[in-house]
Symmetry: C2
Subunit: 224 residues, 2 copies
Amino acid sequence: MTELSTMKDGVANQAEASDRVLQILAEAGRLFASKGFEGTSMRDIALACGISKSLLYHHFSNKDEIYARVAVGSTLELYLFVRDRIPDGPPSQKIRAFMVATAEYFRRYRWAWIASTTAFWNDPDRQRHKERLTRRDRFENFLRGLIQEAIDAGEIRKVDVPMTGRLILSSLNWMHRWYNPNKSATPEQIADTFFDMIFNGLRSGELVELPAAEPPKAGRRKSR
Amino acid sequence: MTELSTMKDGVANQAEASDRVLQILAEAGRLFASKGFEGTSMRDIALACGISKSLLYHHFSNKDEIYARVAVGSTLELYLFVRDRIPDGPPSQKIRAFMVATAEYFRRYRWAWIASTTAFWNDPDRQRHKERLTRRDRFENFLRGLIQEAIDAGEIRKVDVPMTGRLILSSLNWMHRWYNPNKSATPEQIADTFFDMIFNGLRSGELVELPAAEPPKAGRRKSR
DNA sequence: GTTTTCACCGACCGATCGGTCAAGCCCGGC
DNA sequence: GCCGGGCTTGACCGATCGGTCGGTGAAAAC
């Protein structure tokens, strides 16, 4: 199921592409990620690759296509990548695997990930942007299915499913803003920690029954 | 506490500014938020305001200053805004108030918020960002203090404090990517829901019946 | 009544943008 | 030999970029 693993320097899913094309995609992804789409010129990309600007137009028809190959081509198989890493077992563990797999994808295709989630995300008139959003919808709906599964199995509370999905995805999607690859924790470890926090909650103590009758302010005490 | 509330159209903390300047800041914020800093030209801003491009340079020295007034000027008092809305009471409720207050700030200064968290966040020329980042650090450290407080009070588990802060902030910081002001839930309600999910966890409580033959869930429980 | 101040504008600047094009370079097949 | 065809280039294009300049008109200050 991982025949899609033709990759180089974090450029995902670019089968049958020449070394030069892969180089361009890698450099362009890095630049898009750090300076944005509008902030990156074709001259920047050419300079980073050590080639002439014209050569970019030999391999790609325009700037949008480079971005599409970086971003769309990279989110292309996120859904499949994650789906294939969901084990059989209790639904809650599937959610955990979902988070860890997404984090692994982030780690492997980091620049392309950042580029695709950063650049002109709300430009309404970009045709291929819609394709990417469709893929992300499928990805998100997959997560919602897992959450519903966990609810049906009685593993998690009867929470609002879309909102729960947004919380989980938020914890992963914001990671690129603070994640430092030189620090010790891997994205997978971070995702695992976040799953623990979200699934088990932060609250200490065994679940004694709810202080339901109590107004929130007066609540819990256990002075230090 | 709210002497900082000179605002118009979601432009925060722009005291003693003329109507025209406020208009420019509002329109520029909206454009920066939707098209990014590099993607927004001075002509765009002038056109949106119905004025000439020259007039922008009469009121501001350059494009960066407009961005600074929108973004830096808006995150300027986020820390104070939130701090003043933290009630006395149990630390966990302070964390909840922190989240709700941040969400309120997001709702009130939405465009400026998006512009400041979107545009060239990792520009190598961090100088103009340093001030803004310093403020955000203070903001984040404030949250970490609340988390530590809750741990010391025994209200929440002995979790990793910075990581917990990142989870909480992620849930809020990613909101602008999916929040729809036309839908029913307010940002404050969303933040409240997220607090409940993170604090109490998703896992169903003891009262859930144990399906007799069901194998246990692979030992994810963390004992404290 | 004169001068100063200030919001405002149209024309313009050099630089850079995305993109084009005709021509060279290189290398395997005749 | 020399012939095609893919890789590569520098010169160039119109458009647009951020920013400047000289000036206008009306109110405020003297």
